[in-house]
């Protein structure tokens, strides 16, 4: 998109997570003109820092039956309409000696009440299915959980919206609203790359800024009752189990193991935080996760972890309850006409699993307010797969390399097998959106930096490759590499023990010992 000083649109969507991109697609399918602004990059928020579990709903049957039923319905729909983003691996709920046997006994009935399929397995059967499970297993049920690639999901939502005429500005942060006569008359947006400010005139503004929704609403003088709950996760260096494994108890910390292609992800914690300024996984959280989750899957004590990450759940505290886990995970749609601004709405809370429904409700309200009579099409229209974004899935780039190129193509990332041709494709796609590619944005769209070397090796190769491209004359590889390494460090630092420490030492010996990048 060109960079004019003023942009006119029917709807402005703030936030490029799964909710915002889902709304953009929903609106575009209804023929509504829409611009999405994202202050960093697609999935820079919770949508890029979650567990990747497409909930069957079984996890919520006790605390939140409404969410449970909603997850069950949405999960089935997404498996049908967006199969390319989902690995339908199924899931288990398991209890180990010492777990609450009353809950174990009640579980099937609770599931049935919410319309959730749940099949009892005997313990031997479960351990045969998943040999990593603890010998102390006392109960197991099979459910319809699945794994979802949240990057592919948001990127494809966005790509579809763009194909239908939507517009996107990345690195564009909403910095202020001009409110006149009970309306948002204009939105001030700061372009972080150029440092300039531009204005968007929209008939309607949708705030889908996730955990930042309160901050954004505040810019328009509106207070939202949002609290933050940070969750951290750990990524193992190999896939530990074929299906999702949940601990069978009312939900608490570190009780789920989700496969993500060739790795597994274990977590999460739930920690109330006050500020969104420095979100990172901590060492104490890692210990909690390993020690708790190892009760279900003992090998987690010995597993090598590649990195950790943290995301923030925006919980809308309609009624204050004692523990964050029991604050509703349901979404809330605010029409700020109630607060005196007629063309401003906020969508907050919810889950990845229910994003489509959140988008539908939001778009319905938007259309009602704009007097547009178009109905939602995301309940039946499949999300078109977009070849630009298949690289987020582990193993995908390697298959492509074997298939299409092989000879004549350099392998730039040797841990995750990402060849030059794939990096070139991503660079081109970014350039078509008038964007300057860097290691971080390429990493977001591929497996670069996600393997054992965590970017220490492939980062150098890709920085060198980008420096060689005549179409990137201003690219500073050394600077970009430093930023990229620091970005990765956040997730490496908490998992540095055993073999990961040797890898870290090599990385530091190279980048400080040999290259002196710290000076």
């Amino acid at each position: 998109m060109e960079s004019p000083k003023r942009i006119d649109t029917q709807v402005l969507v703030i936030g490029g997570g799964v909710t915002g991109t889902g709304i953009a697609r929903d609106l575009a399918l209804r023929g509504v003109d829409c611009v999405l602004v994202e202050k960093r990059d697609i999935n820079a928020g919770a949508s890029g820092a979650n567990h990747g579990l497409l909930h069957s709903g079984a996890r919520y049957v006790f605390n939140d039956p409404v969410s449970a039923a909603e997850c069950a319905r949405e999960g089935r729909l997404l498996k049908k309409l967006t199969p390319q983003c989902i690995e339908d691996c199924g899931g288990l709920f398991v209890a180990v000696a010492g777990d609450d046997e009353n809950y174990v006994a009640e579980f099937p009935r609770l599931c049935a009440n919410c319309g959730i399929a749940c099949r009892p397995l005997d313990v031997a059967q479960a351990r045969e299915m998943e040999p990593a499970l603890s010998p102390a297993l006392i109960a197991a049920y099979q459910v319809e959980d699945a794994a979802v690639d949240p990057f592919m999901l948001s990127l494809e939502n966005m790509a579809h919206a763009l194909a239908l005429g939507g517009r996107l500005r990345r690195h564009a942060r909403v910095a202020g609203f001009e409110v006149r006569a009970g309306r948002v008359a204009a939105v001030k947006v700061r372009d972080k790359r150029s440092g300039t400010t531009f204005t968007i005139d929209a008939d309607l503004v949708i705030n889908a800024a996730g955990a930042w929704a309160g901050e954004v609403a505040h810019l328009a003088g509106i207070d939202l009752p949002i609290v933050f709950s940070k969750g951290s996760l750990l990524i193992s260096d190999h896939r530990i189990a074929g299906c999702v494994i949940n601990r069978l108890h009312p939900s608490s910390d570190a009780d789920i193991l989700v496969p993500g292609g060739s790795v597994s992800i274990v977590g999460t914690t739930s920690i109330r935080i006050d500020s969104l300024d420095d979100i990172r996984p901590t060492i104490a959280e890692m210990d909690t996760i390993v020690e708790t989750a190892a009760q279900m899957v003992p090998e987690l004590f010995r597993t090598r972890y590649i990195r950790a990450y943290a995301g923030v759940r925006p919980l809308v505290s309609i009624a204050k309850k004692k523990s964050d886990r029991s604050v509703s995970r349901n979404f809330v749609l605010f029409d700020h006409a109630d607060a005196g601004i007629s063309n401003f709405i906020t969508i907050a809370g919810g889950k990845l699993t229910t994003f489509r429904k959140m988008a539908q409700h939001t778009a319905d309200l938007a259309c009602r307010k704009l007097g547009i009579a178009a109905s939602c099409r995301t309940t039946s229209q499949p999300l078109p797969p977009c070849s630009d974004f298949e690289w987020t899935a582990p193993g995908q780039a390697a298959k492509h390399w074997m298939r299409a190129h092989g000879r004549g193509d350099l392998m730039l990332c040797e841990c995750e097998l990402v060849p030059k041709s794939v990096v070139a494709g991503i660079i081109q796609a970014l350039q078509q959106q008038n964007d300057l590619p860097d290691l971080r944005s390429i990493g977001m769209r591929s497996r670069i930096g996600k393997g054992t070397c965590q970017g220490a090796f492939c980062g150098v190769r890709i920085a060198a490759y980008m420096s060689d491209r005549p179409d990137l004359p201003a690219y500073d590889g050394q600077d970009d590499l430093k930023r990229f390494l620091q970005g990765r460090w956040k997730g490496i630092r908490p998992v540095l023990w055993q073999a990961a420490l040797a890898q870290e030492e090599l990385q530091e010996a190279v980048h400080c010992g040999l290259f002196g990048l710290e000076l």
């Binding site: 500073d476 540095l496 023990w497 420490l501 190279v510």
Partner: protein
């Protein structure tokens, strides 16, 4: 000289067993052999272990101020005053000098000449365009040190298909401070049809005069109007000095190598030189195996298990097993251990304090300073603060209170501490 003993065979005997085949272990074996000590060296040595082939002595201190020193000896004196627990503080300056010169002249005898200046550090341009501060550089890098100092017009030539080395990246990183630097690219002769080329392959190819002639022909259009030409480090494997000089003569311009991302050819040359020459000095080399067990209960010697099937009895031992990468140290979620003897490791009291929040923090991570505490004779201390064994010594990066990666003292510290350990053994033996 690969050994073929069985465990059932009687143990091999030696005066000194050196554990670890990194810089510290190799240097310790060299010093011991030179002093007529009957020595066995056991160690796995990976391709990456010598990395760049650069020989750091002391470059940066204090770390927080990022103070870079031109005179490494002045830096060491200042360091020893500020940090009396640093291993350098236990070694007389004359000893450090002697140790370094012994290694340099040994390497020279193996065909690896090093350029160094008695009182002065060198700066080397790296594959990332940064300036690396070091002391001794392979002769094949010397011209680069000189042009970098004067920022003379200079061309960096990279090679199509060599990953992770871009002359444009280097030039762009330096465009402000070194405007006379520019970039060019060649195709390595004879490898036109390869998608990927490897530094080591090219280095081996250049051992052949005909290949050098071809390379000179390809390079010729790119050497006009500059004071020197820099290339990724590929100038030969065994006769690098001669290969470099031959190319220079053909082209009429000084050439220099730039250290690439590891494994880097100058590092491989170092490893090769040690492994080839140490046995000629009488060192028994057992490579590709690790010392797996140690019995320290006898005060007059040790019994070691090596690999699955070897036993070694030694009067004394130097532990030069490195840190986490070499596996001399090992950590679980709670603490750091020394892998072979379970010696006490001086370390931060909690994992929360192992690493800082910024990877490139110039102060270094506290865990980097963890390691073995020693007495003035380089003997690791036990829990009571006394040497664990009369004749157990430690050398190299496993020592506590130093951060070689930030201070730029890796090789120098390994070599000097190896020297100190061997000297201490000689005094102890009487």
């Amino acid at each position: 000289m690969q050994q073929t003993h069985r465990k059932t065979d009687p143990p091999q005997r030696c005066e000194l067993l050196v554990i670890g085949a990194g810089m510290a272990g190799m240097a310790a074996a060299l010093f011991a052999a030179r002093r007529g000590i009957d020595t066995i060296l056991v160690g796995e040595s990976s391709e990456i272990i010598f990395a760049s082939g650069l020989m750091d002595l002391m470059g940066v201190h204090p770390l927080a101020q990022k103070r870079v020193w031109h005179d490494p000896w002045a830096a060491i004196r200042r360091l020893c005053r500020d940090l009396p627990a640093h291993p350098y503080a236990h070694i007389p300056e004359a000893g450090i000098r002697r140790a370094l010169e012994t290694v340099f002249s040994f390497l020279e005898s193996a065909g690896l000449r090093y350029f160094r200046r008695p009182q002065r550090n060198c700066r080397v341009l790296t594959a990332l365009g940064s300036e690396k501060i070091t002391y001794g550089v392979p002769r094949t890098m010397a011209a680069g040190v000189q042009v970098l100092e004067r920022k003379k017009p200079c061309r960096i030539v990279d090679i199509q298909g060599l990953k992770g080395f871009s002359s444009r990246l280097i030039v762009r990183a330096r465009h402000r401070s070194w405007p006379g630097l520019d970039a060019a690219r060649i195709v390595f002769p004879g490898m036109q049809d390869r998608t990927e080329v490897y530094a080591e392959q090219m280095a081996r190819a250049l051992e052949v005069p005909r290949q050098r002639e071809e390379l000179a022909r390809v390079l010729a259009p790119h050497v006009k109007g500059v004071a020197a030409v820099g290339m990724p480090a590929i100038f030969g494997m065994y006769h690098s000095d001669a290969v470099c000089r031959d190319l220079e003569q053909r082209l009429g311009v000084p050439l220099f190598e730039i250290p690439t991302f590891p494994p880097c050819v100058p590092g491989l040359r170092l490893k090769e030189a040690f492994e080839r020459r140490l046995p000629e000095l009488g060192v028994r080399l057992i490579t590709g195996k690790r010392v797996v067990s140690a019995d320290v209960s006898q005060s007059n010697g040790f019994a070691f298990g090596v690999g699955d099937d070897l036993a070694v009895a030694a009067d004394a031992a130097v532990l030069a097993s490195g840190r986490f990468l070499g596996k001399g140290l090992w950590a679980d979620r709670r603490r750091v251990r020394e892998s072979l003897f379970d010696l006490p490791v001086c370390q931060p009291d909690s994992r929360r304090r192992w690493h800082r929040r910024t990877f490139l923090d110039s102060r270094g991570h506290p865990l980097n300073r963890a390691g073995l505490e020693i007495d003035a004779r380089f003997r690791p201390l036990g829990t009571g603060g006394r040497p664990v064994h009369r004749r157990l010594y430690a050398a190299g990066s496993i020592l506590a209170h130093q951060d070689w990666m930030r201070a730029k003292c890796g090789s120098g510290l390994s070599i000097a501490s190896a020297w100190a350990a061997v000297e201490a053994f000689i005094r102890e033996r009487g």
